[in-house]
Symmetry: C2
């Protein structure tokens, strides 16, 4: 029995991604996905978030905010998730376009005013803005990288979640 | 030398939180905070997000989406961060209101359609909605818990970040 071993560009299993896209074109409902997380409070400002069977994501606040500083805080985790999402977007779309990536690093920064969280003023308790710098190491042309960047920023699930007003339904059990 | 040891309600260092709020009322600029994360792509759909000196947050995608499933994916991390943020909100506001919490668990769920991420249709690549169920174990009255819940959901930094359209600036380095 012969077995074909394909070494994929950028380590991305693009056949699976393309196969999923093809399946969704046949059966649009396959595109409907549901995701979950469960958080347990651990006292003070510490909590643990579980996703499937992975190690819990520990959360805390810095001492200046009254925490015990044992992990990143939730607004830092939002930046981390956004960067991770953009990384998937660049890897997927570069591979689909035949662009080899040697490296990719992403720096994220967000500004947040504490007045509303602390109950001192109405207004926006969240980020006022988020800035991202993307450093791509590749031999692709500036034009190719520019087109890749445009596609990724226009189709990022976390980018759209942050850049739009998402309906939130928060209920007591 | 006498030393007063105060055991704080819910393990929350409410004196620091109140002290910070008082300082901000004197010097409003103290409320302006900036947060950062840095993400490194690790090949395929794997990446690592670093926040300060904490352990990296590993990210990947499930096999069905072409990943190697070594960690939660970015949209799951968003739910995790939101639950962690709500936990801080309940702990802080319960303590300020003199409510003792015995336990707090939060379940989060989000629906996301893959058409836009996969380039099959324009539209929203992010969550269409996020639902949260909060289970509070406390002897406080329903009225007290209701008021706590209202305050937390109205002042959540991650809740506001998701529930509003945040300006995003994503640049190539």
């Amino acid at each position: 029995m012969n077995k074909t071993v394909s070494t994929s560009l950028n380590g991305v299993d693009i056949d699976t991604v393309m196969g999923l896209a093809g399946k969704i074109q046949q059966e649009p409902d396959v595109a409907k996905t549901r995701w979950n997380a469960r958080v347990e409070w651990k006292g003070g400002f510490r909590s643990e978030a579980k996703v499937r069977d992975f190690d819990a994501m520990l959360s805390d606040e810095p001492a200046a905010l009254g925490g015990s500083d044992t992990g990143p805080n939730p607004v830092e985790q939002i930046l981390a998730a956004f960067g991770n999402c953009l990384a998937v977007g660049y890897a997927a779309n570069a591979t689909a376009a035949g662009i080899e990536l040697r490296g990719l690093s992403i720096e994220l920064e967000g500004d947040l005013d504490l007045h509303t969280f602390l109950g001192l003023a109405p207004g926006n308790a969240g980020y006022d803005r988020i800035s991202v710098k993307v450093d791509i190491d590749s031999d692709a042309s500036d034009e190719e990288i520019g087109a890749l960047h445009k596609k990724v920023t226009e189709t990022s699930p976390v980018g759209h979640t942050l850049g739009r007003a998402i309906p939130l339904d928060i209920k007591l059990a």
